[in-house]
Amino acid sequence: MSIDADEVAQIAHLARLAVNAEVSQAHAQNLSEILAFVERLGAVDTTGVEPLAHPLEMTQRLRPDEVCEDNQRERFQAIAPLTEDGHYLVPRVIE
């Protein structure tokens, strides 16, 4: 499997990363090589092996449904760039 510069641009956009056209060709080359390397794992017979969701052989601990977090809005908003009436402000987003 290999990817081209357009796909690099697309992935970079989805991740909101600034990748300019000059380097995207090089990234495409490098990423393709990584993919080719990982693809070698496909040679292993994994019949009957469950997909691994997490490297730790443990299961999720559950938490009782009890409120244990106080209101710390002032502390959080003290480090926010912009707030108003208790809201965090961001550049206007309209659907």
């Binding site: 991740a15 909101r16 730790l56 299961t59 449904d65 977090e69 959080f76 108003e84 208790g86 987003v93």
Partner: protein, 477 residues
Amino acid sequence: MQWEAVIGLELHAQLATRTKIFSGASTAYGAEANTQACAIDLGMPGMLPVLNERAVRFAVRLGLALGAEVAGRSVFARKNYFYPDLPKGYQISQYEIPVVGTGHLDIELEDGSRKRIGVTRAHLEEDAGKSLHEGFTGMSGIDLNRAGTPLLEIVSEPELRSAKEAVAYMKKMHSLVRYLGICDGNMQEGSFRCDANVSVRPVGQLEFGTRAELKNLNSFRFVERAINFEIERQIELIEDGGTVVQETRLFDPDRGETRSMRGKEEAHDYRYFPDPDLLPLEITPGFIEEVRAELPELPDAKRARFAGDYGLPDYDAGVLTSSRELADYFEAVASSCGDAKLAANWVMGEFSGALNKAGLDIADSPVDAEALAGLLRRIVDETISGKIAKEVFEAMWQGEGDADTVIADRGLEQVTDSSAIEAMVDEAIAANPQQLEQYRAGKTKLMGFFVGQVMKASGGKANPQQVNEILKQRLDG
């Protein structure tokens, strides 16, 4: 050409937990902005999610109620997209292995027949915050109180064939989650939301057409209108030689139409992957059995019991079990007054009518079950007639006291003294010689006229049965 609609629904039920799915912040509705958004909900660096036990329990409840397989092991995944009300840049959801697998829900169609709708899956996920675009000059305000609220997304198979079927399915699921006590079902507050996937195809064709996903359907009425609009739109488009494009469309309730959300399509590349912050969720058979033991009686079982035990028509049993609150209210009235059919008629008739008119929930009704039972007992023991009972009910609703108080205060007790009724009957006959003559000449329909005269003279209080009997004796004699 004959067209057929293919509809699948994605329902989001906000789970009625006290805290968020991955943090100990409160989920109480209506708090001041961002006072219930903790470091985990804000996506602060280094924070780790810890799963809420009750959210898992609620998901299992639904799974069991849908006859679905509950996964012994399920996995949380990150769904990646950027939006200001999603501070982490991803939503924690479930993708490849959801907690609830294939199940089903039986719905009732308009002609009274049943249809089984497949449920593909239900998975746990966190809700996003809210963006406010009004009231902040040139900026959007973000409230993250809702961020991290547990949701159960319930996905149906594309087996619904009309807007009506879709609404029937949605209503049934809405009733079910409230029976189960896992969601308050409040649609105004967004506790129960719906997206609809709609496509059309020529009748007889097996392959599906291209579907559009409809959003912003926050009432049963909107769901029906939006789907009907969309079906018509797609059929017209195809018949005019066009093609349906796969896209998300927003329902505009003011115009009653769906509109394309162009440019949002790239956002569908969510790049799911297992969340390394969360270990696989294990649900043991012991836990499942524990949850099974706490399940309440479900709507279909209750309906069958109401029809069987109380001898109610199936339709009545269906109406009375449409919500757990109504079913509980009915049962309380029926057992206290001792006449289930009378109780059913009153609960579905006067009582539900008064609630609707006042826009109240059962919990806020000025007439509780015991009070209504007190009124119905007076019908059963013939202290008042059914007609007078309506007047008493009205007074009770206005806060004039219990049934006996109203009956005493207004002097509404039924007249059963036969000599008093006889006197009224004689008076009515004497006052209407012409009608008497006609009656005796064979116009027996005039019986109703005389009954009316006597009832009027008694202020509606004469026992109707006695009036009928005595009148018949006198007129025919």
